[in-house]
């Protein structure tokens, strides 16, 4: 087995005086899609914010490609190959779709390759291509989610962090988004997926971690978790 791409050990995050994450340990292998599931307030987003350096960890270590990234300024992460699709999408509302995607490639200078990556993203999301000159703020929620994923891909990440990609979207749109996530994963991308929709997340991923009040309480292959009675009861509504 290869060395894991990301190793998180004893990570603690405090948020507004509350310990949102209480020393969690997990890892992601290259090419793997891992789901981090849990109820609202379990500490999933705080974990992701620490990983993406939007929040300082209160303790523990985050090693990426063998390197400690715990103290890296957030704008260096994308150069290391980590891209985040933030919760609530975070598109730039008064930039056009093409400009939003170009922002994803902000740290890159290989113009010709950027151009072909742009076509690749438009291939994944033909709807964005139709609206390339439109301001992102005029898009529907699902289209904005597509744009946020496309923008993250434009940085050519080695590790893609997805924060609640299904949130607030119509079921049909959720299906579409997850189809693309599966396509991206099948192209060999390493993905950490954070989701409240546990069933969908586990069906899409290879492994899963279950988070509860700031701690990881369960981990297994995604298929096994799907059949785990505790998970079924707590997160799949059975």
């Amino acid at each position: 087995m290869n060395e894991p791409l990301l190793i998180v050990e004893g990570l603690r995050v405090t948020y507004g005086g509350i310990q949102a994450v209480r020393g969690i340990t997990f890892h992601i292998n290259p090419g793997e899609m891992v789901a981090l599931i849990g109820a609202n307030g379990a500490g999933k987003t705080s974990t992701l914010r620490a990983l993406s350096r939007m929040l300082d960890a209160a303790g523990g270590s985050i090693r990426y490609q063998g390197k400690e990234i715990n103290k890296l300024p957030p704008h260096h992460l994308v150069r290391e190959g980590i891209a985040l699709v933030p919760e609530g999408r975070g598109v730039f509302p008064r930039l056009t779709i093409t400009e939003n995607l170009s922002m994803g490639a902000f740290t890159r200078n290989d113009k010709a390759v950027i151009e072909s990556d742009l076509e690749h993203v438009f291939g994944l999301f033909p709807r964005l291509k139709e609206r390339e000159k439109q301001l992102a703020g005029t898009l529907s929620g699902g289209e904005q989610q597509m744009l946020a994923i496309g923008r993250a891909l434009m940085s050519r990440p080695k590790l893609l962090l997805l924060d609640e990609p299904s949130m607030g979207l119509a079921p049909i749109m959720v299906q579409k988004i997850f189809e693309v996530i599966r396509t991206v994963a099948s192209e060999g991308m390493t993905i950490l997926l954070i989701e409240q929709n546990a069933k969908l997340a586990l069906e899409t991923s290879q492994r899963g971690y279950v988070m509860e009040s700031g701690e990881i309480t369960l981990t297994d292959d995604a298929a096994a978790l799907l059949h785990n009675p505790k998970v079924r009861e707590a997160y799949l509504g059975e």
């Binding site: 704008h75 922002m103 940085s155």
Partner: protein, 307 residues
């Protein structure tokens, strides 16, 4: 009729200057939500640096065009450095402080800069050496000078350059992205500090050019000249919708026109009771009305999508 045309010309010239200064306010506000009340003082220092450099070079016997050109370069460099330092020293440490703190700091910096300028250049009015040969033209009973044409031209070119920078370059895109969502712009690899510094430096450069234009226009300068100019330019930025570049430009020109027409007609309107030296009241009447009835300004975006 000729007074109308005359005041339109005067208003355009004054308005171009307001617009150039207003851009400095609006760029910084657009990116970090701070009203840099020291910006008027940056302009003032641009004017005074230009006076010192140009006067010195003229004494050395340099031709006017060269002395003037070097004066503009020196003033721009000095203001860029000053704008950069202001952000670095006064505002950056307060980045996460409550909103009122940097605002009060800005007023403090404005006082510091005024006093510094007074210590360096003294309290007396200084004459600005003429940079452009003043030729008078006449159209339809209204007179205008080569200096006025120069001011409008230079402003138009500078503002065109700014629009190109903001809408056609990578730095400009990063600035717009940071203004709309700083933390996500950071995730894209944008160094927010660098973008904020750029906004200060570019705004100050425009301010320096405006400072030289003011000096050339009024042929006089003083360490307190930045206060009223800054306040008017701030009004122009609010009138256009603070944070909006096109708004600052339009607001500046509009404010110049309102002031000039007001000054031209106030005597007639009040039966000679108030003279044209009351022209300053128009800017503030405009400010009050905008804040009362349309606080987002003429071109302002709804505040909702700022998130």
């Amino acid at each position: 009729m000729d007074i109308f045309l005359q005041q339109i010309i005067n208003g355009l010239v004054q308005g171009s200057i307001y617009a150039m200064v207003a851009l400095g306010y609006t760029m910084v506000y657009g990116i970090m939500g701070l009203i840099n009340f020291a910006h008027g003082e940056v302009v003032m220092i641009g004017t005074l640096v230009a006076i010192t450099v140009v006067t010195f070079l003229l004494k050395l016997g340099l031709p006017v065009w060269l002395a003037g050109g070097l004066g503009i370069v020196a003033a721009t460099a000095a203001c860029m450095l000053l704008g950069w330092s202001l952000e670095r020293v006064a505002y950056r440490p307060l980045r996460n402080a409550p909103r009122l703190t940097p605002l009060i700091t800005a007023i403090g910096m404005s006082i510091v800069l005024q006093n510094l300028a007074m210590m360096i250049w003294g309290r007396n009015y200084m004459t600005f050496p003429p940079l452009v040969e003043k030729t008078q033209f006449e159209v339809g009973g209204a007179a205008f000078t080569s200096v006025q044409i120069m001011i409008v031209l230079v402003s138009a070119i500078s503002m065109g350059g700014l629009l190109f920078l903001v809408y056609r370059t990578k730095l400009g895109m990063a600035m717009r992205a940071t203004a709309q969502n700083p933390s996500v712009a950071g995730l894209m690899g944008v160094n927010a500090n660098r973008v904020i510094s750029s906004a200060f430096v570019i705004g100050s450069a425009l301010g320096a050019v405006a400072g030289v234009m003011v000096g050339t226009y009024y042929e006089i300068a003083h360490y307190q000249m930045g206060f009223m100019l800054g306040l008017k330019a701030f009004t122009a930025a609010v009138l256009g919708g603070i944070g909006n570049l096109a708004g600052a430009m339009a607001g500046g020109v509009l404010l110049g026109l309102i002031e000039a027409l007001g000054a031209g007609y106030i005597g007639d309107l009040t039966g000679g009771f108030l003279g044209s030296h009351y022209q300053d009241i128009f800017a503030f009447v405009v400010l009050i009305f905008v804040l009362m009835f349309r606080p987002s300004g003429l071109f302002g975006e709804k505040t909702g999508d700022r998130a």
